[in-house]
């Protein structure tokens, strides 16, 4: 609510600029990593995915956290509202991603080693 957040006057804009700084730095790091693509990160695999991709995804979630918490004011909402939003989306989206990526990998295997010819 509007008056809930007004009690901390000066700190709000300071917090905003801090978050902007964090988001900028993370984006710059992502772009630099994406351009130079360090060999030890692209050649190391963790749970079937390149380490570099893990880093990108973790940094993205890190950015998403700051956008949701600071910019969308989730940090000042009640615990109930926050959990209703965050856990609902995390649960449904993880499930969707899991099931679709598994299926995609399976179809790749069928194309590669099964009896389906698709490039002729």
């Amino acid at each position: 609510m509007a008056h809930d957040t007004t009690h901390q006057h000066g700190s709000a804009s300071k917090r905003i600029w801090t978050v902007f700084g964090i988001l900028s730095v993370v984006t710059i790091v992502e772009v630099i990593l994406g351009i130079i693509k360090p060999v030890f990160l692209t050649d190391t695999f963790l749970l079937g995915m390149r380490l570099l991709n893990w880093i990108f995804i973790i940094l993205t979630i890190y950015k998403a956290y700051y956008i949701a918490w600071a910019f969308m004011h989730l940090e000042h909402e009640t615990k109930g509202l926050r959990r209703a939003i965050v856990w609902t989306s995390i649960f449904l989206i993880s499930y969707l991603i899991f099931i679709l990526l598994t299926e995609g990998g399976y179809i790749y295997d069928v194309y590669k080693s099964g009896y389906v010819a698709w490039d002729f």
Binding site: M1, I35, I67, H73, I97, L100, I107, D119
Partner: protein, 326 residues
């Protein structure tokens, strides 16, 4: 008004209505409902993109090679710089939005106006940038040859640099001319002629001993496979069926057409959100100017559109990662 209010005798009780257990107003709650459902729509798109990519995991286009343009730097390979700039513009417009919300909390009309204005400008610049990205993607850069199996073959020189169809094709006289309505009585529709026909490309490829073919297949290092000269000639003679320049929903000179489809759908859907966000911001901007919220005593409306605007930014952060980085 008083007369129409029905008193139930339950005011102030838990189920008496008007309770705000989550301490958020109705409007804000509904905005969160919308955002959550919209987040699921976007994750559906992105997960479908992941599905298709996993399906063609060893032949997916490399984003760095597709999106490597930067304004005023023609022919310079600038992977991701532009999209990084777009990300900055959107994050910054998010910052001005949250500053507007903050100024609204302190009832500073002038500051809200300024920050809202900056947010709108940022949104417009972003949509414009996206249009430019689309233009580059649609018109393509080098062109490729399509195969019977629905794949594309690209051309490289001895050093592995890409070579465009324009540099390969040798003009052949007497080719088919474009058939148009004004020179045929029974004309219904005719296929558009490609800029360079397959025969012209083939003839040019045979003449230039230096040229090789690059397939969609990825090597273990994540680069595209380059065939030897003999394999290249064999592949071109046996499998090529046509030429393609640029990308659309059916063909894609960069590789799998699915890549183009998802690019158009996901960035298009996101761009549509930015566009509607700009429209909503403009409406709120004028409401701020004419003092609607000043009279109402609360700038909560700015907060609600702010939520939407940050959500658009949030989605872009994910699109950026999964389309351009990973």
């Amino acid at each position: 008004m008083e007369a129409t209010v029905v008193r139930t005798g339950t005011e102030g009780k838990t189920w008496g209505g008007g309770n705000e257990p989550l301490k958020a107003s109705y409007g804000k709650m509904m905005m969160w409902f919308f955002i959550l459902s919209d987040a699921l729509t976007f994750s559906g798109f992105l997960a479908a993109y992941g599905f298709s990519r996993f399906k063609f995991i060893d032949s997916w286009p490399i984003a760095d090679e597709v999106f490597n343009h930067f304004p005023f730097l023609h022919g310079v390979d600038a992977p991701m710089y532009y999209v990084a700039l777009m990300t900055f513009i959107l994050i910054f417009s998010s910052v001005t939005m949250v500053l507007a919300v903050d100024a609204g909390h302190h009832m500073k009309k002038g500051k809200v106006t300024t920050y809202m204005f900056l947010t709108i400008i940022g949104g417009l610049v972003f949509v414009g940038s996206q249009a430019w990205e689309w233009k580059n993607f649609i018109s393509g850069e080098y062109g490729a040859v399509t195969t019977k199996g629905g794949n594309v073959l690209q051309f490289v020189d001895g050093e592995g640099h890409r070579v465009g169809l324009a540099d390969i094709a040798v003009p052949i006289a007497g080719d088919r001319v474009e058939h148009e309505a004004n020179n045929g009585i029974w004309f219904d529709e005719g296929k558009d002629l490609p800029t360079y026909s397959l025969e012209e490309v083939k003839a040019g490829f045979i003449q230039n001993e230096d040229l090789l073919i690059r397939t969609q297949q990825l090597t273990e290092d994540g680069d595209k496979t380059i065939l030897s000269r003999e394999e290249s000639l064999l592949k071109l003679n046996n499998e090529a069926v046509g030429t393609v320049e640029g990308a659309n929903l059916v063909q894609n000179e960069y590789g799998s057409p699915l890549f183009a489809d998802f690019f158009f759908f996901i960035t298009g859907f996101h761009g549509f959100h930015v566009f509607s966000g700009v429209i909503i911001n403009i409406i709120i901007f004028f409401n701020v100017i004419i003092g609607t919220y000043e009279r109402r005593g609360s700038y909560e409306m700015v907060e609600k559109v702010g939520l939407y605007w940050h959500f658009v930014d949030l989605v872009w952060v994910f699109v950026f990662t999964f389309f351009y980085l990973v």
